[in-house]
């Protein structure tokens, strides 16, 4: 059976949902083989095997702390050793850049933003800010595909078989930018925006107070999102921004609060399954894409909804 090489940059357990999605997808196309950016501890090897991996490529030493170049070189080396039928990565900025550079090294076409990959490697993606869906194919080289989170349901774990380990000698990454500092972000305890099943997002209409948005998000077990107006104002961190220059999300439920619905905002959220909008302006463009729209004030609607949820759960 042909193998599918899955690039994983997971420094520690637990294995994130996005990684399990990629391994699940790989199993529908061939035999999952992992290219791990970090040397795997025994528990990590067990987790990979339990998710169907049969082989793991690991760098012979720590990869250089430089932007992208070292990881791209490692992935290309692993691909040359494995000769897989396809290469899968996540869809973060960094994963796409690794895919981009490995693509040039391997002479292989790259397709980003995949939402589905068929067994014959036809790739479905949404384009033009979510207004079109297209089916693409790689014509040259080994298809390299970056897959959006929430595209597949992770399969249950399987009894672990033995996992073959292959060391990849470190090769020169070429000129690269050195990472000189790294500061972790505040951990909110909420789900990752890109993976969240429920998102409550606030805009300029929140007028500096994200309390009602956070309260509703927590009651729904969701993530907090924002428009650029809200992140630019500094009411919430930039990583919460949804849209063209923020995150693209496809949750089951997106509640938009005090957001007008500009094209750049819609670009990031219009593929959500259900869209709820609360805005005091009946002419706000967000109502054109809302499944359930409320013309009203966020400061009365959101707290009342939160209160009602609590009442029902009591």
């Amino acid at each position: 059976m042909a193998s599918v090489l899955v690039f994983l940059d997971v420094p520690a357990l637990p294995l994130p949902r996005a990684a399990r999605e990629l391994l699940t997808l790989a199993r529908t196309v061939g035999e999952p083989v992992v290219a791990a950016a970090h040397r795997a501890e025994p528990a990590m090897l067990e987790a990979l095997a339990a998710n169907g991996a049969v082989k793991v490529y690991e760098p012979a030493g720590e990869l250089d702390t430089v932007l992208v170049a070292a990881k791209a070189a490692f992935l290309a080396d692993a691909a040359n050793a494995e000769q897989p039928a396809a290469i899968l990565l996540g869809n973060s900025f960094e994963d796409r850049e690794i895919a981009a550079r490995a693509g040039i090294k391997l002479g292989s076409g790259v397709i980003t933003d995949a939402v589905a990959v068929a067994p014959d490697l036809a790739v479905t993606k949404s384009v033009l800010a979510g207004s079109y869906t297209s089916t693409c194919r790689v014509r040259t080289g080994t298809p390299i595909i970056t897959v959006k989170a929430n595209s597949v349901e992770p399969a249950p774990e399987v009894p672990a078989t033995s996992l073959e380990r292959v060391e990849v000698p470190l090769s020169a990454a070429g000129p690269a930018a050195r990472v000189t500092g790294r500061s972790g972000k505040r951990v909110s305890g909420r789900p990752e925006l890109a993976e969240a099943r429920v998102i409550v997002a606030g805009g300029r209409g929140m007028d500096g107070d994200f309390g009602p948005v956070e309260e509703l998000a927590d009651l729904l077990g969701g993530a907090v999102g924002a428009s650029r107006a809200a992140t630019d104002a500094g009411w919430i961190e930039h990583s919460a921004q949804v849209g063209q220059t923020g995150k693209t999300v496809s949750p089951q439920l997106y509640i938009s609060a005090g957001i007008s619905g500009a094209i750049q905002q819609k670009a990031g959220m219009q593929t959500a399954k259900v869209i709820v909008a609360v805005n005091k302006d009946a002419d706000a463009p967000v109502f054109e894409i809302a499944d359930f729209g409320i013309v009203g004030d966020v400061f009365s609607v959101l707290p009342q909804a939160a209160e009602e949820i609590r009442k029902r759960r009591a």
Binding site: V68, T112, D291, F292
Partner: protein
């Protein structure tokens, strides 16, 4: 470290002519390509141009020997992206225009742009920085900057939300901040480097009357594939490493229910979520 050690920068900014996202955009024809009427300079490239202008101005601008060249690849109309860049403040423009480029994917585009940057270096001297936007607003893949860095073997400083070039012992070094999902990084690279900037990096300036008049006198060089030594078979539809087999507009979202808050909208919202089995 002395002030006089500051040496001028030769900067190439990539600018793309893209369909205005404010209008409906359509994929047409056998290649499922974008209808390019109603095109403008990609909004995200304005941040790249602003970053270039600020770096050059901090070193004395054009008078001190700095160069900011706007480079666009695309059909005849794409020269408008170059002209707009000149009006905003770029010092010179280059338009790479060749029929064989139609239908290029990221691999073909990065191949052609890499050759164009080399051609600019051949005529002007070494290029210190290639600056791009974080993505094009049409293709949206963000593949081209990284592929260009790979092809030109430049240090890659992508998604910079803060950017500076500082002289360390007389040697210019790019310093940038990069905001990831779970952390923020600071990165440093020696020149030459490829930089892409986000829309957090600065506030782009608008062209003013003086700029619009001055732009008329600025040079625009038109290049063909032959002039930059690229085999037409390696670009365009035929040379593309990926192909679009089918495309369809997303079905419009069906008209939803819109209510006006009568004092119970919060409760009605929860009823709706419960009916949809979302809580």
């Amino acid at each position: 470290m002395q002030e006089s050690a500051t040496h001028p920068l030769n900067i190439v900014v990539l600018v793309k002519h893209v369909p205005d996202a404010q209008f409906d955009r359509h994929l047409t024809g056998p290649g499922h390509t974008l209808n390019r009427a109603e095109s403008i300079l990609s909004e995200l490239d304005e941040y790249a141009l602003e970053a270039a202008l600020q770096l050059a101005e901090a070193r004395g601008g054009e008078a001190a020997g700095n160069r900011v060249t706007a480079l666009a690849m695309g059909p005849a109309a794409a020269v408008n992206a170059v002209k707009k860049s000149l009006q905003i403040g770029a010092y010179a423009g280059v338009h790479l225009n060749d029929d064989a480029l139609a239908g290029s994917d990221a691999a073909g585009t990065s191949l052609a742009l890499a050759a164009a940057v080399r051609a600019i270096a051949d005529s002007q001297g070494p290029v210190d920085l290639v600056i791009t936007g974080m993505a094009s607003t049409d293709g949206e893949t963000s593949l081209v900057p990284a592929q260009l860095a790979e092809r030109l073997q430049l240090a890659q400083v992508t998604f910079a939300s803060e950017l500076d070039v500082a002289d360390v012992d007389g040697v210019p070094v790019v310093k940038a901040r990069r905001d990831g999902d779970s952390f923020t990084e600071t990165v440093e690279a020696p020149l030459p480097a490829l930089v892409s900037v986000t829309d957090q990096a600065n506030s782009p300036r608008y062209p003013n009357f003086k700029g619009i008049m001055a732009a008329k006198k600025k040079p625009v060089t038109v290049l063909t594939l032959a002039e930059i030594g690229v085999d037409p078979a390696q670009v365009g539809f035929d040379g593309a490493w990926t192909a679009v087999a089918a495309s369809a507009p997303r079905p419009p979202r069906s008209q939803g229910t819109i209510i006006t808050d009568d004092g119970t909208a919060g409760v009605q919202l929860v009823e709706y979520l419960a009916a949809q089995k979302l809580i």
